[in-house]
Symmetry: C2
Subunit: 308 residues, 2 copies
């Protein structure tokens, strides 16, 4: 009833530019490793070559999440799918994305008369908040809506941590092997005298649960605070500097201080800002703005890695 | 009735890799400059960033030709279209490609709710040979079918060169201004005695016409000889070395010596080979094979330029 080791949980920024890609800042894509799982979040044009440069094998990817159907978040998906096919992939690939995505992929696969050697397991994102995309003994992934010009979603990843049994409980009650199995399953314990002990009173988390949330292409949207509350690491777009809040609102994007305000109010551990407009050649100025509101902020720049 | 100068006619290899792109050899795209015209031939994923690297402004492009709907020839098109929109393009853009291409583009534009600020003038390639895509006083572009797993086309670009009037004709017949206008329009000349002189007997090409042909993703296909006959520069794919002719036939690609054989029989000026399988880390061996059949062969490598 414990993890023998803490799984690696690491984010790699493949690209965190915005709509107009440049050679310095590629458009949106992130790689999230959690234990043996390899998850891609968004997949802009050129992601497959960026993965090559970062020495991340696409063949290891088990899941790809697409936040919305603006090109700088998914134009690289079909190329990546095709290259994995040509490289002989046979393992199924899960894709979560807006409903229209599967029609686009199917039309392109049909035009090239490509019959994939592996299964695409497509799951449409629903127009609801808190949709549980995945939940097993290790990880929970949920989606929630952000506020953009077209339907767009954010994602939250929570580690599911096993509970250990307190030593004094074992000393006091000497549970049998069968008892332990029930306790491991989260059940309460009934003592010889008939008292019912609640599971969480005699177990404890093996280690603190770690969590990550991804919110891109969204206007300032207070509803997000609930969905990203308390995560260790929050990626929140900050397309514009603080003086451009009118334009940000108009284009359904956020400013630096708006991203930082969400982070502050959601009491996250660390904020990553990205998706900077191509007008900002040096994003340090954006970092400084965000830090005035939330000190624990870093820039999401290409190739950077963050342990969660 | 003459060109006062010879227009620049130059090919730039944006990428000449094959289906699996690499950081060294990007997938297919070429830029053809003819005078003030800027034409893109194929547009693999990442082409917009390659254009940035090569300092070729996409805003200058007037025409894009897509040979077929395998991803390594067009997955970068939608991103390029989108970026030109974001950059404020208003000039129309001509696109020639397989009929299904426009459905794919429209579906993706609809999903992102993008209403382009400029017109896409789409022309479907017909399943015929010798379709005249464009013909004006400067350039003729035709398409012809190549032999691939899915419908695929090659393209030929011929400079239209004006004719000059021979000096002795002017001395002998002293044509009027009106006569000269008729002659410029290609008409014959009737002398005072009623003899009809054929236009080409008293005019000559201001300079030799230059021409380029592009044949990618094709098995060895003798029909091509007619369509590329006599061009100054021929790009012909050579995905495989000569020992892989069975596999080449099976996958509807060509070997080095097959490409060279087409060039030799079509009496072209120079052959460029490209679209090398990713198995060939050093394409020099492919060049040497082709040269045994056609000495005037060069490798189409990223960033290389060729004057036509």
């Amino acid at each position: 009833m414990c993890f023998l080791f803490v799984k690696p949980f690491e984010l790699t920024i493949i690209g965190a530019g915005s709509a107009l890609p440049s050679l310095e800042r590629h458009a949106s894509s992130q790689h999230l490793q959690f234990g043996s799982r390899h998850i891609l979040i968004d997949c802009a044009e050129g992601t497959q070559l960026r993965l090559q440069a970062l020495k991340i094998s696409p063949m290891k990817l088990d899941t790809i999440l697409i936040s919305h159907l603006h090109g700088d978040h998914y134009y690289g998906l079909i190329g990546l799918i095709n290259s994995m096919h040509l490289n002989g992939r046979t393992n199924p690939l899960k894709i979560y994305g807006p409903p229209e995505l599967i029609n686009i992929l199917n039309l392109m696969l049909k035009a090239s008369e490509t019959h994939l050697r592996y299964q695409l397991l497509f799951h449409a994102l629903e127009p609801i908040d808190g949709q549980i995309l995945e939940l097993d003994n290790h990880l929970r992934i949920i989606s929630f809506r952000v506020k953009h010009r077209i339907p767009a979603w954010g994602f939250r990843f929570d580690e599911i941590v096993g509970r250990k049994i307190k030593k004094d409980f074992i000393a006091d009650f000497q549970p049998t092997h069968e008892d332990l199995q029930h306790i491991q399953a989260g059940e309460n314990y009934t003592t010889a005298t008939g008292a019912v002990l609640s599971n969480e009173t005699f177990t404890y988390l093996a280690h603190p649960s770690r969590s990550y949330a991804y919110c891109t292409d969204t206007a300032y949207f207070e509803t997000l605070i609930e969905w990203v509350f308390g995560v260790n690491l929050l990626y929140h777009e900050a397309t514009f500097g603080k003086d451009m809040d009118d334009f940000a609102e108009q284009t359904f994007h956020s400013t630096t201080v708006q991203a930082a305000e969400i982070a502050r109010r959601a009491e996250v551990g660390k904020l990553l800002i990205g998706h900077f407009s191509s007008r900002y050649k040096n994003p340090e100025v954006l970092l400084n703005e965000a830090k005035t509101v939330f000190e624990q902020t870093e820039l999401a720049l290409d190739d950077k890695k963050f342990l969660i």
